[in-house]
Structure formats: structure tokens, C-alpha cells
Symmetry: D2
Amino acid sequence: MDKVGVWLIGARGSVATAATAGAAAIKAGVASSQGCVTESPGFPGQLVPFAGLISGGHDISEISLRKRAEQLSRAGVIPPDLPGLIASELDAADAEIRPGHVPGHGGQDTAAARLIADITGFRARHRLDRVVVVNVSSTEQPAAPRPEFDRLADLEERLATGDDVLPPSSLYAYAAFQAGCGYVEFTPSTGPILPALAELAALREVPYAGRDGKTGETLIKSALAPMFADRALRVRSWSGLNLLGGGDGATLADPAARSSKELSKDQVVAGVLGEPVEGQTHIDYVQDLGEWKTAWDHVTFEGFLGVPMTLQFTWQGCDSALAAPLVLDLARLVARAHEKGRHGVLPELGYFFKNPLGTHEHALAAQYARLRAFAEELS
Amino acid sequence: MDKVGVWLIGARGSVATAATAGAAAIKAGVASSQGCVTESPGFPGQLVPFAGLISGGHDISEISLRKRAEQLSRAGVIPPDLPGLIASELDAADAEIRPGHVPGHGGQDTAAARLIADITGFRARHRLDRVVVVNVSSTEQPAAPRPEFDRLADLEERLATGDDVLPPSSLYAYAAFQAGCGYVEFTPSTGPILPALAELAALREVPYAGRDGKTGETLIKSALAPMFADRALRVRSWSGLNLLGGGDGATLADPAARSSKELSKDQVVAGVLGEPVEGQTHIDYVQDLGEWKTAWDHVTFEGFLGVPMTLQFTWQGCDSALAAPLVLDLARLVARAHEKGRHGVLPELGYFFKNPLGTHEHALAAQYARLRAFAEELS
Amino acid sequence: MDKVGVWLIGARGSVATAATAGAAAIKAGVASSQGCVTESPGFPGQLVPFAGLISGGHDISEISLRKRAEQLSRAGVIPPDLPGLIASELDAADAEIRPGHVPGHGGQDTAAARLIADITGFRARHRLDRVVVVNVSSTEQPAAPRPEFDRLADLEERLATGDDVLPPSSLYAYAAFQAGCGYVEFTPSTGPILPALAELAALREVPYAGRDGKTGETLIKSALAPMFADRALRVRSWSGLNLLGGGDGATLADPAARSSKELSKDQVVAGVLGEPVEGQTHIDYVQDLGEWKTAWDHVTFEGFLGVPMTLQFTWQGCDSALAAPLVLDLARLVARAHEKGRHGVLPELGYFFKNPLGTHEHALAAQYARLRAFAEELS
Amino acid sequence: MDKVGVWLIGARGSVATAATAGAAAIKAGVASSQGCVTESPGFPGQLVPFAGLISGGHDISEISLRKRAEQLSRAGVIPPDLPGLIASELDAADAEIRPGHVPGHGGQDTAAARLIADITGFRARHRLDRVVVVNVSSTEQPAAPRPEFDRLADLEERLATGDDVLPPSSLYAYAAFQAGCGYVEFTPSTGPILPALAELAALREVPYAGRDGKTGETLIKSALAPMFADRALRVRSWSGLNLLGGGDGATLADPAARSSKELSKDQVVAGVLGEPVEGQTHIDYVQDLGEWKTAWDHVTFEGFLGVPMTLQFTWQGCDSALAAPLVLDLARLVARAHEKGRHGVLPELGYFFKNPLGTHEHALAAQYARLRAFAEELS
């Protein structure tokens, strides 16, 4: 596998910019691959080298990647001198960004055709072995169910009328599958989870994975909840407050979008412990935090003879910097799985997600063991 | 396996009292086995039932177990009405506590003979299949090396002179092994780690495990450090402050004893990450905390492109309530291993310890997986 | 001033029970007055001694004070042996608790007459110099404005029709004023703040104070916000999550009641800093916390040359134990002010409240200085 | 008062560089005076304008201020574009930095003469009305007492022998006083506190203030401890861990220097509460924190009826950015006090210090009130 395309939905967002800039920096030898799971010492498998990754994507924003990289640099997400060092790579990636579909501007059938052509054009132009489409755009609100989501034939019939049927993320997943590409749903949006799209992925023999990259508070939850379970310490409540700045924070200031995120976040603890646990997880937009995020969690639990105890943690992270290397990991893993003939959902990639598709395993170490085994298989 | 003796060194301390009271409460059906790893749903293996556990031990204190249980009850470590409900069981256990050896009062050869007789008498009196000796007494300072620690013959020759040769914990381990009993070093003290004692354990075909029960801050460290490692997030510093009240806190106010504890605690992070990490772990005695302990840890780490981030946690736990069920778990597991013919060090029990003997594995989930596999084998 | 009555609305609630039990314990010499501001060393003024305080009140609950004290004792709010030591005092106070008014059961005019008679009967029976009515019942939702709230004549005309006009807390304030008693609004409820009631307080020459006892997170805010202001450090955001168990937590699980509380809490920071500050304060009911409360606050601020920094704090307190001594302080201060001829709102008591009536001062040290000066004046 | 010199001991350190760069930025109109107490809205008094401040100083380092400013800029202490905008001002200040005295290189009598000449030369060159010497160099270890510290005559007699008598900070204070300048001891070092130097300050009629700028954890302590005292909540323990990077952290890695700092820090709580309080304050050097500092404090306290509660806080600050504006505040205030004829110690400036000279007041609000009254007087 020599060359793989990474087609980013939301290609000018913070996560995509950090991923594109980071891949360029690693290629150029001016940054290490720290933060990339698939590059950590001893990680099994032979994936496409960074030198073989080519970026492109869709976005409705027109701010250039170079400018976005400078913004991220001022915000401390990428090193101050990096945008200058990789300016030509950023411009090259920029030239491969096509306008995103704006809902309401033309029917979804026309839009899908155009999106598919954008992706296949990119693949042809760069003679890529595979392209993986990764959605890193803004979180959508949960989609209301519709009858045509259940069967591909019904969905296509409805699309053919020119109606707006699919949530935007699902339209991109549809286009990706039709273009013969793997797909990663890195946001909590609907994306590929509709039965009609699963049918399409099977038909086109393409793999997909998701949803909602596990980058901060939920990562810690999935490391700590198994500790309580295995130690037979009963968790009595788990409460949390997430303070987010940045673009994602602003999107999540909308209660509808936030509900998608909160649903994702709340599955881990109950999933690991096997019972519902008291407590809520709040998400607040705090503009002053910029690209940073702070989460505080408070856990009450009972030990021997019912003694009450508590654990608190505070996580202060840069979401884009946490997400970007995982986007590269996922693109490389999905491309390789595609090459190896895997199609449909990839539950082995649950390690990367808050709401892993195809599996109910939320315990971090178990997810990691499964990921490693998968990487072994792929070699 | 019908009946197993749990012989506690420091039998009137907080941990031993909580373990004895808890086992009695579970037997009596007035408490659940919550906090006991070996009793959690789905845990494999058939261990001695709680009804088959009989307690005894050594202590230099003469305060009755019933009084100690009332003290713990006032401190919130055991439920207020429990001491009354199990008064007769506490008195029975109290009747099986013999005076501990006071260093300097008679030679260690005489002392060892008496300690052995105490243990074998207990075993005979109750017709016990096995006895497991568990050290839960105060932390000693690290022992200076001596030439006679290396070979059993030299050690016994020197003991025969009546000299005080062994640190107290090692004297108890010696007595345990000579009495044909398994031994658990639940403190950071020297205990069974001398080569001469390993030789003796092999000779007597008895198993042992240790050291230093992992009950709080270090437990969290061993859950979180693998998360950083697997995610390729580089830990840059890990600092901590432990505030301890209670008996253990007072002991650890002595810098020499504290150094034993700090050495135990500091191995986990470097052990998991495979490199030394900047930062210290402090232990302060804060009398006002009573039986409780608060630990704050501060971790700095680097993500993709070197972005600096932090994680903090605060653990507020009751040490005795965290340790007591593990004492029961260990006694049951070691008894079973002994029955199955295992002798020497049991690295499979590393899950329970800050400084696991016979293994360098510090990652919690890996330790747990090994423990489960061991429990399977023992069935 | 020999004898003062403390008439508690919500007399069987946690705060009232702790206040009544505490006053009895101090009288009986089995507890110190720790936590009472007016008893701290060097605090000026001569207030009624604890021996002169007599308790009574209204409540719709019928659980006896002795039983409530035992519940609080099990929850760790009052010492285990205290209920037994003051059983007869609790029974005496219990005998002075009359049924609270249940909205909808009879008109408010009849209710008011009965409430007034309850209070004046109590005063006469015990030959009390003064009675102070203190509302420590559950938080109400904010009251919608009504035209008859503006003038006493209109209010009384409307009440005469038998209609339910006033929010419950305001009905109690009305009864207190008509009975010639001072009133303290210790909750965020409407209570005495209606212009018609201010008119009545002037007419009856009675003093009052409120609202919403400042016992935890807001107390800290009012200590820290002035620090930022005086140091010219610009606060950029202030976010918080309050986790509450207990009766108050359950009440506040109702969004309408919670909104009263959140409005109270959010005034302090903007009030001290003189500008609105980004960030929200959440209140969650976490049943598992029982009588305890945990609040986490996260503050971002800017220093010299715009450098961003942060402060976080976690407060773990027992709300009833924090509120109870302030109830006693307020009853004693209001009684004394009444005796000295003060009537209308008492802004000098703003130190005790989240939302102080009659003043915009929220800085804690300034409030305390004003309280001390007031206490001097009253001597 | 038109022109005031700020003569910084440690003129190339982080604090001095930030102060010099900041003053230049404010003068140039490219930064606000945020963080300067004396410039906050409504602060009384007429101090020398920023345009009238001229910087110089002593340092043993030879790295240029421009380079140091760039380092601070990369570390996020000053804005990225600032060093470029004020390059000429930095160069001008750099030209006024003279070599610091290196202990052991020549006798202290010769050294003092040279230091005095440096300062008076600076004053003359710029026709300054006043010069204030501010020590912001590395913390020294506590000085052992010597008989010649008690009387000026004995001190000068001893100095005349060429011996090294004074700790470095005291040598600078000696030189400042002899040069007729006010002095600020911003570090925990000995500085001006020797009786012989008090005598000299009286003789030369110069004012001084100190010690140890209160910029972080201790600032919060002095805001919170009065809250506990006034609320009659008994503090039972106060423990803390300070993690410091940067130059100060490295200095404080030396236990002797650290002991000076810990002594300063530990006075506030006991000072405010009027009784010793259990608990220690640790200082750790954590290189990875760079110019940043994180402090965690844990407080246990008792409320009504002895209920135990806790408060924790975590402070994440940039020490230089917190200290620099206070250095400018102090220089301006001391210059004005000098002009107004004040000499000797200035207890009114205790607000700025962990260990305020001439006063035992540690409560922050009381210190601030005294500062404001002082500023009024000076107008």
C-alpha cells in the first residue's frame, strides 16, 4: 500500500488542520509522531507510511489552511514556527479542498453526485490506492428516524425525488460508500449508522468505524470505570462538567447538538459497570478557553462494608491536538482493513470512540487489546 | 478446602480489625462482600467460603478487638451497629491473638520458636487445612543488607546465636514458612524478600506474595499510566502529595519508614512507561484526617506536536476499608494456591501490590487479566 | 433582653433540626458554639444568651424532632450521642411546632390568621421579649409579579377575598410582620421582598433580613472575587457545578426551584467585579451525597500583559451544619435590632446572604466589617 | 515627581524582564496596565506615571534583555510580538545593567562602593528624582545571625576589614540605603531586616518594604483564612504542594533556599487564625512546568457541632507575570513615600508580601484597606 488519501469532512476545522499540518510535519521530519497510537513503539502492523498520506476534503469555510494553521499556532495547538515550515504542503492540501454541501442549496441527489465526483477525482488525480473519508465537522443534532433509513432501495428512491432526507453526516457517508471509500465518523453525528447505509457499505464492500472520538474526559472514564468494577468497588454516582472553548464548544452551546454529545459521553460508565449510575455530564461553552477544554469529574463509590469514598479528576487538554493523531491512526487502519478485504463496521476500532459501533466494550484496556490483535491480523 | 486460618501480624490494627470484623459480618449475613475482588460477579475459581475463615494473629497491643471495632465504627470505617452484631465473633478472634514479638525482648531464635508454636497451635486447635500469615503491621524502615540474608544455612547459624538479625517482618515470614504456612507481605516492609527466606519457602513448599497493598493513589496510577502509554501521550512529570491520618500516617511521619513507602509508590509510573519520569511523591501525616487519606496527583504530558496538557486527580479514601477485603482475597487465594501445590513467590497476585514480587508488570488491567487466569487455573 | 423565640418555618427540616439541636446542646454545655459568628472571640455586642433562646415553628412534616435528630446523627451532621443527651429539649421544641400551611387548603386570609395566632400564642406562653421568624423551608420557584404586591391596601383587599395570592414564604413573612415579629428569609424564596410587605414592616415597626444563606460555594466566591478585583487581575470566566444531596438537593432537582437558587448564586461575581462574567453555575441533585454538598468552581483570569491563568476550588461541606449556626446568629441579631428600635430591611446583615437585601455589597470582608460595626452599634 | 528609577537586583531574571518589558509596553501604549494594583480604577493617589519610570539594575547574567524577552515570549509570559515592538526600550534598559557582585570576588567593602556608584551614576545620568532598588534575584538560604548585624557601627567596622559579612541581598540593601534610595525586598532573602540596616535607613532617611512578594498560593491563603476565622469555622489542617518550574523553581530545589520560602509561606494561616495549624507546605521543582506554577492546597475544618469539612484549591499561575506588576506598584509607592518624607519600614505595603515587615496583619482585605489609606495619604 503506497498512497492513501485522507478526505476530511470539515477540512478547515481545527482537528482537520492539526491533522493535516501534523502529517506534513512528520513527513517533513520536523515533528515526531507522538500521539499516534499506530506509531508507538512495539505497535504491530505495517500501515501506509506518513509519506504516503495525501490530504483533501470538503468544507463550507473558505479560510485557507495556511491561515487556519497560523490561528492554531497562536492558540498554542501547533508550534509557532510550524506553519512557515510546511507552507507549501498546506497550500497543496488547500488546493484539494472542495466546497462542502450547504443544506438547502440544491437537492441531496445532486449534492451526492458532486461529492462523489470530488472524492473520485481526488483519488484519480493522485493515483491513490485507497481513500478514507473522515468526518471531523461540527456536531449535528440527533436525527429523527424516517422509514426510508431502513432500506437502501427506499432511501435511494427518496433521494431521487431531490428531497433532503439524510442528515449532512449521513450524506457524506453515503457519498463515501458510493465512491468506494472507507468512512470514519469521528463526531457524535448520525453518519453511517443507518441500516440503509450499512446495506450500501456491504454492497460496495467498504469498511467504516465510529462514533465520536474519545479524546478526553471519556478516555479517563474508560480507564477508571474498569478499575472500580474489577476491584468490586461500587460506583454510586458519577457527575461531570466539561468546559469547552473553540469551534466545538460554540456548536455545543446549541442544546440540540449538545444532546448528541452528552448521549455519547454517558454510555461509558454504565456500559462498563453494567448498571445505570446516578449523575449527569454537563457541557458548557466557555469562549475564553479557546482551543482548550477542562473537564472535572466527581465520583462517589462504596468500599468494604459500605464505606463511602470519592475520586475527582480534572483534565485540561487541547481537543484538536488529542483528536488529530487519532484521525491519522484511523485513516491508516481503515485503509489497511479495506485493502485486506474487510468491509462493514469495524468493532475492533472501538478503542478510539466514545460510542463504538459494533461492540458494547467500553473498558479501555480491553479495547486496546482488541485493537492490537486487529493490527496484528492486518499485517 | 473447608477451613482456612488467617493469621494477622498486627491483628489489632485498623486493617486487621476491619478484615476480621468484615469477614464475621459477611459470615453472619449482615454485610455484603463488596470490595472483595474474589467475590465479584463472574470472578472465576472456587475458594474457601467466608464461613470457613478463622482469624487469629500476633500483636503487641492489648486493646481488645471489640474496643478496636468500636473505635473504627466511630471513625466511620465500619457501620455503627456492626460491633454489637458480631461481638461474640470479635471475642473469639480476640482469644486467638498472641503477643507480638517486641524487638530486644529475648533473642530471635527463642522468639521464632514461640511464634511458630503460636501458629501451629492455632492450626491444630481449629483443625485448619491451611493457615495464611498476612503482615498488616506498621511499616518498618528499609533493612540494611547483611551477608547472612543470602543463604538459609548462614541465617539459621546466626539466629542460633540468639542475635537479632532479621527485621521484624522477616522474622514473621520465617516463622510462617517454618510453620508450613503461606505468607503475604501487605506492607512495604522487608518480609519474605531475603534470598535465605526464598530458600526456606522452597524447602517448606509454601507460597508467598507481596509487597505493599495497592489501595489508593497507586491504584489510580496503575490504571492511568497505561492509558498515557497506549495513547502515545508522553508523560513529562508526575507529582503527588499524600495526606494520611491514622496509625499508618503516624508511622510514616518517621522519615525512615516513609522512605520504604515512597520507594514502593514511585515504581509504578516508571515501570509502566518504561522511562524515568520527573516528579516526587510526598507523604504527610495529618492527624486530623483520622482513618482517611487524601491524595492529590498532578501529571503533565505532551500530545501531538508537543502540546502540553495536564491531568489532576484527588482520591479520598479510607485505607483500612480498602485494604481489608484485599487481605481476605489474598488469604483465600494463597491458601488455594498452597493446596494446589504452588510454592515460592506468586507473581500472579501482583494486581494487589504496589511493588509486586516476581514480576515487573505494573499496568492494572494486565495484572487483573493475569489474576483471573490464575484464579481459573486454581479451580 | 432575657428571652427570645426562634420560630422556624420548616421546623423539622435539616437546617432547623440542626439549629434547634445545636442551641440545646450549647445551652446544656455539651457542645461549643463553634460556627456561630456572633460568639467568636472578640465579636462585639451583647446578644441574648443561648439559655434565653426558645424554639418553635411551622412544618407540614409530622416526623418528630427527636427522630429527625437521630437521622441527622446517622448522617454525620450532629454527633452520635447528641440526640440522647438533649432528648427532652427536642421534645419540648417539638411540642411548639404547629402544622404549616398547605397551599390550597383554605384561603390565605384564614391561614394567615391561624399562623399569626400560632406565633403570638408561642410568644405569650413563654413570655418572650421578642420572636424572630426564620424561613428555612424548601426553596420555592420565583413568583410571578402581581399588581397587588405593590401596595399593602391592595394586598389585604385581595387576601380578604380568600384567594391564594402570596407565595408561601411571603405568607409567612406577612404573618410574622402582623404578629409584630422580625423575619429572616434564609432561602432564595420571595419572602418579604414585596413592596406591600415592606410597607407592612414599616407599619408594624419590625426589622427583616435576607435572602438565601451564604454557606458554601458562594461564600468562597465572595472571599475570592475581591482578591481578583483588588489585584487588578481580570476574571474572564467563572463556571461551577454544585452537587447536592439531601432535602434541598431534591427540591432543587425541580428546574423552577433551581432557577431561584441559580439567580442568587450568580450575582456575587458580577456584583464584586462590576461587570458580567462568562460562565454558568449548575446545580445537580445527587442523592448519594446525603446531607453533603460538593461544589467545584473553575475560574479563568488574565494577569499582566494578558497572561491567562486559572484557579479551581472544591468545597465539600455539610449544608445544614453550615446554615444552622447562622440561623441562630441571625435570630439573635434581628431580635436585638428590633429591641433597639430598628425596623425595615437590615442591610448590615448582608454578610450572611447570597442575595443581600438593601445593599449591593457582595465582598465578604466589607460585609463582615459592616456586620461588626452594626453589632457595636447594637450594644 | 517626574522621573523615578527602578533599579532591579537580578535585572535579567524573569520577573525583572517581565517588569521592564511590561513598563515599556504600557509606556508605548501597546499593553494595558492590567495587574498593576495602583492603576486599577478608583485606586487613590498620584504616583509617577509609567512614562517617568526608567529601568536599570545589577545582574551576574550577561544574556541580553532582548534575548530574555524572547525567551519569555516563547514561554507565553509575554505576548509573542511584544519583544519586537519594544526592542529599543529593552536595549536601553540593557545598557543600564551593571555586573552583580559575585560573592568571594573581592571584599564586600569594595563591592559596596562599586554598587553604590552604579546606582548613583544611574540616578545622575537620567536626572532621576528618586531611585528605588528592588531585589528580584534568586532566593538565598536563611542567614546565620552574627553579632555585627545588630549595630551599624559594628557592621561597618567589620566591612572595613574586607570580610564577607553580609548575605548578598543585605549587601544590596546596604548599598541602596547608602545611595539614598528606597529598597524593596521582593524575595524571602534577608535583605534589609538586620537591625544595623534599619539604623542605616533611619540615618539616610530612606524607606523600605518587604519581604517575599505574595503572588499565588499565599495570596489565596490570605484571602481564605480570614473567611474561616470570621465565620468561626475552625481550621484543623492546611497542607499544600507547590510545583514550580523556571528559575525560581531551580533555586528552590536547593533545600536551604527552599527553607527561606517555606518559612515565609507558613506564617499566613497561623498569623490570621491566631493559633498554629497542623500541616506542611511542600515546594517541588518540576522543570517541565517552565515559567508556570501549580499549587494545590487542602484544608480541613470543623463547623457547627464539630462536623468535619474540606476545601481544596488548585492555582495555576505564571509567577513572573504575577510578580512583575507588583514590582512596578512597589517602586512607584516607595518612591512617593520617599518623596513625602517617609523613612524606615513601610508596614502599609504588607498587602504585597508573604512576610510583611513591620506588621503582623496577614488578612488580605485588611492589608488592602491599609494600602488604600496609605495611598490616600500620599496624595
